[in-house]
Symmetry: C2
Subunit: 450 residues, 2 copies
């Protein structure tokens, strides 16, 4: 979609009062394109455009909007219009909406929701954050094992419009226990008089309502399904999670890891960068900055202890930034690879010794190359072999320490059931800084006999 | 799946020569679970297990395996068995396989591929890396606009087994131009005598064969489809991309950005951490380490220039690590948020002034808080108001510089059509280091009149 052109066209229709043409034109625009259109037109136009949409599309567009625009829009909508939206949207989207709106808006939404749906929403709201229960929706196709394929088609024809997906159908017992699953493809190729129980797949990959959402996303990635059934402790099917929600989780978890790697405290609101306020930005950044600043002071204290060495040989100070940065970079390389490997399930804490062995060898190779490059440069610039030796040995030690800590600390965090990402680059860097400066000055005092 | 239990069970079946039971048991294991099983059993058992699988499942399992295990397995398979795999797998998987195998294996694979498929594979191999063309497969359901719904069901029943997905069907003209798309749900709820052209959706979201894979993944994320049609320059439908491939791209791109943020050069082989060799690991890390080491030397040179100041007031040196780390952390916070925002399409280069304005205000808040915290600590520890002032002012300047550079540089990179992630934390850190040390010593010489 060429957004500017679309907006220009819409504006022209409105200016020329060609409402009928506008209504037709809006039909050709995908629901997912409306949020960015609404960002670029005036508020009075938003409500006007919104009211020209069909009932189904209005609900679809509503779900796609960002929370602040949803809230604004609800302010303009009549009770009947809100009822409409709440009748059309899927339960997982309803729960998302209610979780994000302020309480007065929530009250208005719930008053305009059918009692049956209100009950479902309340049930779904009870699941702990970030579990399968909060991701799932309750609109799925449930078949019985003794239906024929023809029966199933009849059933689907009647029910499908109100279901989030027909791609996978679920076969349940009378007391709603999950017996099997049928991909719509298998239904479509089967003869019409076959029984459901003869074509269903009984090796069902399913998740429990309390399963962590990260694990749910990993299962989608691994098994390539478009929906996963969610069962309670008694194996009763209570909902399904569709792959679009899994993709959101994947993106969200990656964003969280990016933020942690950059010493930012992630928050639960997924507001975009520009929509997040200045103080919220500051708040999410300041905690780690303070912690890391305090730990960096430790490095300063170490340097202070070697004041004598510095007075004797002030040149030493010039190598501090290089040693600190190299240590930090080596550490963050290792910790990033390990954290990402753990997140992608390519690595587990069982592999810790294999990982240490790998990092040990890598760090020797890398350390030697860096030490050689540095020694050459020092010989060229300062013609001082002693300094070259001190810096070279320090570099090799620093690289090895940095890589080993970068490898071990995230694994230990994971083993302690902490998020490995707290052991990301910034913290590793600060730890390695102190250690490498310590090594540097100790080797220097030793070799120069200061 | 409890992997250890499964492997134990399989091993027992083999030991007791209960092959029939093993064959039955293997049917209950999902294809996606075989790779990790194959990692844990001996090679002779792998080929034995593999040969007990049904034709379809053998092909499915083969596709799921990691490349090194695929290569090993091919070494054991007969020509007939390879033919089998190549007949069963989808064309996108065939292309992946051929791209990853050494040339002697490729030759053997192609000899055992039907000429028609060989032609398709060769066509697909011609698309440039990382484009929609390399992701797509050619097995989709193509309907004609004058078919009835009943005709369509007949057609799907005959063709579906060999198609990667039936969830979306495509309506083509005689010369294979894309007219419309039908979600299988709409087909299932429609009356059997309706015409396809009356129920198809003509607002088709599609991609061009040469579209970048990152953009393709973004479209999946935005539009929530399970498949996207791929057309050539003449709007002829040449393939489809399914959502599982889009998820792989999302994961791959996130991993690449993580690596770039940690000064690692990503490579094209997606080998896991443990499968990547020591020298390959070292190679992908050493380039940036050398570049960043050289730039860190600049900071060292700056310090050298202030040797007089250091001799007069050696205490100054103790603050260098803290100032450098804080600058680095502030810069990486800003650059990470901007890089991720750009990657997720929440930000565009048009927003540069909005982003600068935001970072400016955030950096003033953060800078002042950090300066106050530091001044208090300096007053407590050293009772020296002049040092407190120097460090405080330096911190505020450093935070502002770091945040502004962290915000502007990735945006400029994007504007220049470079990957914004090259302006990630490590490079920003080195730039900010030099600048902040420069500011620090200049302010210090000014205030202390050194």
């Amino acid at each position: 979609m060429d957004e500017e052109k679309v907006i220009e066209k819409i504006t022209k229709f409105i200016e020329n009062k060609r409402i009928k043409n506008l209504r037709e034109y809006l039909k050709t625009i995908n629901s997912a394109d409306f949020p960015s259109i609404f960002e670029s037109v005036d508020e009075d136009k938003i409500i006007m455009i919104y009211r020209l949409l069909s009932k189904e599309k209005a609900a679809e567009v509503f779900v796609e909007l960002e929370h602040d625009n949803q809230e604004k829009l609800i302010g303009y909508l009549t009770d009947t219009e809100i009822k409409n939206v709440m009748n059309e949207i899927y339960m997982d989207d309803a729960v998302d909406l209610i979780e994000e709106m302020p309480s007065n808006v929530v009250k208005r939404i719930l008053t305009n929701t059918k009692p049956a749906n209100r009950k479902i929403i309340n049930e779904l709201l009870k699941y702990p954050d970030d579990t399968a229960g909060t991701l799932m929706t309750t609109e799925f196709i449930d078949l019985k094992e003794n239906m024929t394929v023809a029966d199933a088609f009849e059933f689907i024809k009647k029910k499908a419009l109100k279901k989030e997906t027909v791609y996978n159908c679920y076969v349940l017992t009378i007391d709603r226990k999950l017996l099997g699953i049928i991909d719509i493809k298998d239904l479509l190729v089967a003869d019409r008089d076959k029984l459901i129980k003869d074509i269903m797949d009984t090796n069902v990959i399913k998740v429990n309502t309390l399963e962590d959402q990260e694990e749910v996303a990993r299962m989608f990635d691994k098994y390539n399904y478009v929906a996963l059934p969610v069962v309670d402790q008694e194996n009763r099917l209570v909902g399904i999670i569709t792959i679009d929600d899994a993709i959101d989780v994947i993106q969200e978890e990656a964003t969280e890891d990016f933020e942690k790697m950059a010493a930012i405290t992630p928050d639960d609101d997924n507001d975009s960068y520009l929509k997040t306020g200045v103080f919220k930005h500051a708040k999410s950044r300041i905690i780690w900055l303070l912690i890391l600043m305090l730990s960096a002071m430790l490095t300063g204290q170490v340097i202070e202890n070697f004041e004598a060495a510095i007075s004797t040989l002030p040149l030493l100070v010039a190598f501090i930034p290089m040693i600190m940065d190299t240590g930090g970079n080596c550490g963050s390389q290792a910790s990033t690879l390990i954290i990402r490997g753990l997140a992608m399930n390519e690595l587990s804490t069982k592999d810790i010794f294999k990982a240490i062995w790998k990092e040990l060898r890598v760090s020797i190779v890398v350390g030697i190359v860096l030490a050689i490059a540095n020694s050459i440069r020092i010989m060229v610039q300062y013609h001082d072999i002693k300094i070259a030796i001190v810096v070279g040995i320090t570099l090799i030690c620093t690289v090895m320490m940095a890589k080993l800590l970068g490898c071990v600390l995230p694994m230990i965090a994971k083993k302690l059931k902490l998020d490995p990402a707290i052991m990301a680059a910034p913290l590793i860097t600060t730890i390695v800084d102190t250690l490498s400066v310590l090594v540097f000055f100790n080797i220097a005092t030793l070799i120069f006999n200061i």
